[in-house]
Every structure is written in structure tokens, then in C-alpha cells.
Amino acid sequence: MICKTIELETCRLHLIKTQKFKTIDIRIMFSDKFKKEEITKRNFLLDILTYSSKTYNSRRELCIKCQDLYSLNLNSSNLRIGNYLISKIGISFLNPKYTEKNMLEKSIDLLIDIIFNPNVSDNRFDSKIFEIIKKELESERLTVKEQPKIYSLSQMLKEMGGNKPYNYHGYCYKEDLDALNEENLFEFYQMFIKNSMIDVYVVGDFDFEEVTNIIRNKLKFVKKNKIKDNVYVFHDLIRKRYRRVIEKSNFKQSKLVIGLKTNNLTEYERNYVSNIYNLILGGNADSLLMRNVRLKESLVYYIFSTLNKTDNIIIISCGIEVKNFEKTLKIIKKTLKSIKDGLFEDDDVKKSQMEYITSLDTALNNPGSIIDLEMSKFIGISESIEKRKKEINRVTKQDVINISKKVSMDIVYLLEGE
């Protein structure tokens, strides 16, 4: 795999050449500082841009065009990384070696059409399509409440408070959705294209010069500097005692979601030790939580913890019967304390290191995750794979004990079932 970053006059181009795949993946990232009201706007914008264009002016026309390009896959999504909001629009298509010679340029032309030639007249998006997307987003917003895992997680994060980016979920907010119309969405589009920091990633087996020239000539962005704000979210408030929040629901299973804050981590702790801590705690099928809550007590089918290092947060989630709430909570608390007391083995550290390395190797099997790895390197939240593999092996049991003392329970949220 050969990686190159080229500073073009119009954007930053990251080329990753590898013969691993029969596809070429191109992704354009639009990054900016997090603003709550942009969550809804960006969701709307990506949906409307990838729904149709001026050239292919219905969903059907655009889908037929994608199929004609040997089933080109057009994809888009928004994500938040710490204090940044990032919108991705990408295409994945078969390497022209397997199709026709001009497919590289034709595929990129479609991506450009999607981004620069939206279905707009008189400075407003097409009304009919605007309504279709609005309805879809409204449904999506409403039906989140049907999905107890997602709903309980977003409620817990809201309760963490402090007016931080992590308080906000990634789907649309009603007030922001209602405030959008065909005109102000178009204004936002213009600002989005003009003001975002643009990074273009290309993965596959291609000619550096050919791809660089096509991108240089066709992607006419105005280049922006790197975002100055720190990507990491730090907490202003660390609760001495955690807060309990219980919400009633009609679901059969109760969802217990516990938010933990990490505080004052060193860079090494944040990049490496926290991963090992999380894997030991609840990051896999042999974690302490799985052993203590599922294997020994049969209280849950699933229990896991996830690390969100840019937010300095760890989240424990499980589904329980409501009568087992106090018992489960007690075992989870005991498990957290057992790590502080060093009641785990060196072996737990060792196998977590191996699992961490395995997950890096697995990520290299997929073009999308290769882009994610490169992107996180670029925005400065992780180092090269080689370095990561080396550094993770330096983590010791004592490091894990030390970091466990910097982890505190913040919110215990229960979505109470019947």
C-alpha cells in the first residue's frame, strides 16, 4: 500500500494505492466545526444531493445512471468526530480493468454532477423532491423511538449535560427540520461547498498522475485551511456521584445504558491504554462484563462497552429484565472497581493487545475502513498502523489500573420495560 497526500490548489488529495481490491473508492469529506443546527441541515443536504441532480433529475434516472456505470455505488453519510462534523459523499466502482477504459473518468463525472450540479432552479431546490426528503427525515426522526437501543443511548448522552457535542444525536431535530425550506437549504449548500475543509480520498489500483490530474481539473473547490479547534471534547463537569435517570416505556426488555467519563488522560493513555481498558472491561465476548453479568449470572444476552476517545467517554450497554436492574448495576459497579483493584490478569492485557492488532488488520481488508484509518491519522487522532501496532504492545497491567482511576460513572440511565 502506497499513501500520498497532495496539496492541490483546490483541495487536499489523499491517494492510497493498493492492488488488494477490484474496486476504486473515492470519498470527499466536508469537515467543519460542530454546530448543533448543522446536524439537520447536513442530513437534509446529503439526502437531497444524492437523490437526483439537474442532469439526472429523478431518483429513477439517477439509479439507472449508476447501474449503467456497472453498478456504481453512490453513498453519503454524516458523522461527528469530537468537535468536528464531517459529511462524506463517495462512490465505489469496479476498476476499469474489469469494465471499460473510460469508466474512471465517467464515474468521477457523476460524483461531480452530484456535488456541483444539484437539482436547483432560481436558487431553490426542487420543491417536490424537497418534500419527499423532508418526509423521509421526519419518519426517521419519529421511528428512532421504536429502536430502544438507539433511543436509550441518545437519551443517556443528552443527560450527560454540559452543552457538549456529545449531548446531541445524529438524526434530525424537529425545530431545525421545520425551519428549513428550499431557499435556505440552498444557501446552506453554497456555504457548505465554500467553507468546508475538503479532503478527497482515493483507494484502489490506479495511476497516481491520471487520478491527480482528473481531480485537479474537475473538483473546483476553494481550498480551506485545517480546522483550528481541538478535535477532542473535554468535560467541564465531572460528577462526584453519578446521576440516575429512569424513563418508562412499553418495551418488553429494559435497556440499561451507563455513561462513564474519562478525565485528564495523557496522550498515550487516550490513544492506547483506553483501548485496552475498554476491551478488558466490555469490548469483547470474553470481557469482564460478559463473564460477570452473562456467564456467571445469566442476566443478559448482550452487554458491551464502547470507547469514544475523542469525546473522552466510555458507554456500557445491556438489555435486562426490569426486576434485575439493581442486581445488574451492582455487578457492573463491582466490575469497574475490580479493575481499579487490579483484579485481572496480565493475560487479559496481552489478549486485548492482540485483538486490537487484529482489528487493525481486519480494517485493511476493506477500502472504506482504509479511508477511515487514513482520515483519523490526518485529523490527528491516531498514528500510523505500524506505530499503533508497536505502541499498543507497550501497555502494561499497571497502565490499565492507572487509567481506571481516571474513569468515573456519570449517568446511569434505564429505559424501563414492562
Binding site: K20, F21, K22, T23, S58, R59, R60, C63, I64, Q67, D68, Y70, S71, L94, Y98, T99, K128, I132, K135, E136, E138, S139, E140, L142, T143, K145, E146, P148, S249, N250, F251, K252, Q253, N284, A285, D286, M290, R291, R294, L295, S298, L299, V300, Y301, Y302, G319, E321, D347, K350, K351, Q353, M354, E355, I357, T358, D361, T362, L364, N365, G417
Partner: protein, 427 residues
């Protein structure tokens, strides 16, 4: 050892069978650091009535035994925890149960040899006791509860119950609280001994592995090689009719927008084409052309605002297929009417047909990029068709509009059911 080459894309698939009938498939790759291995057992939630090993009469088991067994296979007599064992090498392990099969799989980078050997040991050493049956029951009940809260699963489970009269696939894969409470260790052993026999199991390995090395590990696994085949696996044959069990159901659930599902029951015996894979492809082609993202129907649903979050698909069961339409909509009647309208006047163009063939071929080339996906498709093929296809692209190329039109003539839309789920008042 036999070897096969995937048409067009060139990947190699190696196949060897042990004396006792255990099949091994290997898809080596020099492009990755990781490995994937999966043991498949042709035994799923559908297999609830069969002749147990060394007996001669059909016996019915509780619903959910195959799934229970999948959980309890991870109990070892010496008390070791398989999850801990695999985890020592940073290897992940998991399992799943479907209507027709149970799978046990692992993936990782380190210590392939000892972990493959151990995976074979886990699956070939049952250890069921009254205690571990009771303690696993609590976990399975939580799993059932979790799926009951999932609207998608809820509606699918309900639909199968309405479509099928006899076939056990009408029941939930995990069973019910009641059926699970009746499962005993004797019943588990009975099923295990009948179905977990070498000629009913197979192994698929892919990734950074050496073919000879895989075979060496498999051939030197004492327990596996000592197992005797069961040439007398007899599953009950059901006389499932064309008709559905129930045509309409309206109920309330934890939804915030009404959901509908419209399903057509299609009997394979009604078609002149007998090759299963081709029939499956043609039915999918039909659904893609008439209801897929490039269809008039699809455009109409969107532009008339008839529904959000909708899709159509074709599900393939043993002797039946179902054509399914799922939507989130406040105008379910209009959605249904539109489906009926397009079914009553089916138009196929050569142009669109050829375009979809091109799309499918592209999709096969994409799948071949990852040997783990190929491994999964080998597994699915064996379970669905009892053989594997390394020439899918060639088969796609042989598809003809004329044959599709013949199939459309033979399609019968009379047997269908319709489900509408409304929000509860307090939602």
C-alpha cells in the same frame, strides 16, 4: 483434493472430503493478514420433526432447540470457556442459527492452527447438563425479549406465521419462553447426535491460510475423524399447500408510524423451470425489474409520497419463495393498490433486463474481492442448493428474457397476506 476456479475472477476453491463424509472447503488469499473459518451444520430451526439416531420413528422436538444447542455448544466439560480460549489469541468467535443451518465461526490474525483445532473440538464435544441448560435459559429469554422489541423482527415473525400452515419455519428461530422452558439436556443430546454428524457438517476456511496446512489440521483432529456418519437422517416432509394460513392481520405495537407488509406465497413446484438457482435468480430479477430502485413503481411511491422507508424483496425457502413488500406508511391501502396494479400488468424490457444482468455481474466481481464473502456464499449455497457455484457469473449470462416471461406467466399471485401494524394510543 478437488479444485475449482471462479469464472471471470479467478479465485481458487479447494475441496476435500474426509472418509466419514466431513467436507472441507478452502479459499486461500495472499492479499490479507486475516483468516476466517466457519463450521456449518445442516440443522436449523426448521428441523423439529425427524427420526433420531438409532431409532426408527419420527419424533417432534420443542421449537428453538437448534438455537439452544448453538448457545450450549460453548459449554465445555473441563470448565474452560471457549470465548476466553479464542480471545487469548485475539481471535473473535461467534455463532448463528437460521431456518436450515447452524454456523460457528471465528476470525483473526494469530494462532490459526490451534484455534481451528479448538473450533473443531468445541463443535464436536457436546456437554449438556441440567445446570447449564437452566443457566442458559435466562440468557436465551433475554435474547427473545430483545427481538420482540424489534419491529422488523416482530413483523417478519408474524408474516411467516400467516404464510405457512405446516412448515416449522412459521415459528421463531429461538422458540418462545414456553418452548424454551421445556427444552431438556436429553432433547439437546438427541438432536446433537442425529444432526452433528460428519456427513451433515462442513468447514469453510478463507484468508491468509495454506490449503495443505488446513487439511493437515482437520485430518489430525482425533475427535472429528472418529465420528461416524449418519446415513439415515430423515426429516419430516410437510405437505405445505399453496394457500396461506391467514390473509389479513391488523394489530398495535410500539411503532410511531404505521408499518405494513404485503407477502405473496409462491410454490416452486408450479414452475416449469426446475433448476433451483435459476428459478431463484429469475424471481429476483422479476422483483428488481418491476419494483426495484429503477422501476416505475418505485418512482411512483416516492413522487406520490405513498410511503417512506420501503423495500421489496424475494425470500427463498426450501420449496417456496415469498415476494415481500415492506413499508412505513399512513396510506397502506394505496401502497397495496399500486403493487396490485403493477402485478396485473407486467412489462419487461430487454434493455432493463440486460442492465440488471450487468449489475449482478458487477456485484459478483465485488463479492470476489473478499474471500470471506466467497466463503459465506459457499456455505449458503451448500445449505440452499446442496452444492456450490463457482460459475455464478456464467449462469447470470445465460439468463434470458424469454425464460423470465415464461416464469411470469406461471406466477400466481392469489395466495398472499397483508399485515398492518398501528401505533398504540399512548405512542
Amino acid at each position: 483434493m478437488k479444485s475449482y476456479t471462479y469464472s471471470r475472477t479467478g479465485e481458487k476453491l479447494y475441496n476435500e472430503v474426509l472418509d466419514n463424509g466431513f467436507q472441507v472447503y478452502v479459499l486461500p488469499s495472499d492479499k490479507k493478514n486475516t483468516f476466517y473459518a466457519c463450521i456449518g451444520v445442516k440443522y436449523g430451526s426448521n428441523d423439529v420433526c425427524f427420526v433420531p439416531l438409532n431409532e426408527n420413528k419420527f419424533k417432534k422436538t420443542n421449537y428453538g432447540v437448534a438455537h439452544f444447542l448453538e448457545h450450549l455448544i460453548f459449554s465445555m466439560e473441563d470448565g474452560t470457556d471457549p470465548f476466553a480460549y479464542f480471545n487469548k489469541s485475539g481471535v473473535n468467535v461467534n455463532a448463528s442459527t437460521s431456518f436450515y443451518a447452524t454456523k460457528y465461526y471465528m476470525w483473526g490474525t494469530n494462532d490459526f492452527n490451534k484455534n481451528l483445532d479448538y473450533l473443531l473440538s468445541v463443535v464436536t464435544s457436546p456437554y449438556f447438563t441440567n445446570e447449564n441448560v437452566i443457566s442458559e435459559r435466562g440468557i436465551i429469554n433475554e435474547e427473545i425479549r430483545m427481538y420482540e422489541d424489534d419491529t422488523g423482527w416482530f413483523i417478519d415473525d408474524l408474516a411467516r406465521k400467516m404464510i405457512f400452515k405446516e412448515l416449522p419455519i412459521k415459528e421463531k428461530i429461538a422458540g418462545t419462553f414456553d418452548s424454551v422452558s421445556k427444552i431438556t439436556k436429553e432433547e439437546l443430546y438427541n438432536c446433537y447426535n442425529t444432526f452433528y454428524v460428519p456427513n451433515n457438517m462442513f468447514l469453510v476456511v478463507s484468508g491468509n491460510v495454506d490449503v495443505d496446512n488446513v487439511l493437515k489440521i482437520v485430518k489430525s483432529h482425533k475427535k472429528l475423524n472418529s465420528l461416524k456418519p449418519n446415513h439415515n437422517i430423515k426429516r419430516k416432509k410437510y405437505d405445505e399447500s399453496r394457500e396461506v394460513s391467514k390473509e389479513f392481520c391488523q394489530c398495535k405495537n410500539n411503532v410511531y408510524l404505521p408499518k405494513m407488509k404485503y407477502v405473496f406465497k409462491i410454490r416452486h413446484a408450479d414452475f416449469s423451470i426446475k433448476e433451483k438457482i435459476k428459478l431463484n435468480m429469475y424471481l429476483n430479477m422479476f422483483m428488481t425489474l418491476i419494483f426495484g430502485s429503477t422501476s416505475e413503481f418505485h418512482e411512483c411511491i416516492l413522487s406520490e409520497n405513498y410511503a417512506t422507508g420501503f423495500y421489496s424483496e424475494c425470500a427463498y425457502y426450501d420449496d417456496f419463495s415469498t415476494l415481500e413488500f415492506v413499508a412505513e406508511t399512513e396510506r397502506a391501502d394505496l401502497f397495496k393498490e399500486l403493487v396490485d396494479k403493477y402485478l396485473s400488468n407486467i412489462e419487461i424490457t430487454e434493455n432493463a433486463f440486460e442492465r440488471i444482468k450487468k449489475v449482478w455481474i458487477a456485484s459478483e466481481i465485488r463479492i470476489s474481492d473478499n474471500e470471506d464473502f466467497l466463503a459465506d456464499s459457499v456455505l449458503d449455497d451448500i445449505v440452499t442448493y446442496n452444492k456450490m457455484y463457482t460459475d455464478r457469473i456464467d449462469i447470470i449470462e445465460t439468463l434470458k428474457v424469454k425464460e423470465l416471461k415464461q416464469i411470469i406467466k406461471e406466477l400466481n399471485f392469489e395466495n398472499n397476506c397483508f399485515i398492518l401494524i398501528n401505533p398504540k394510543e399512548d405512542n
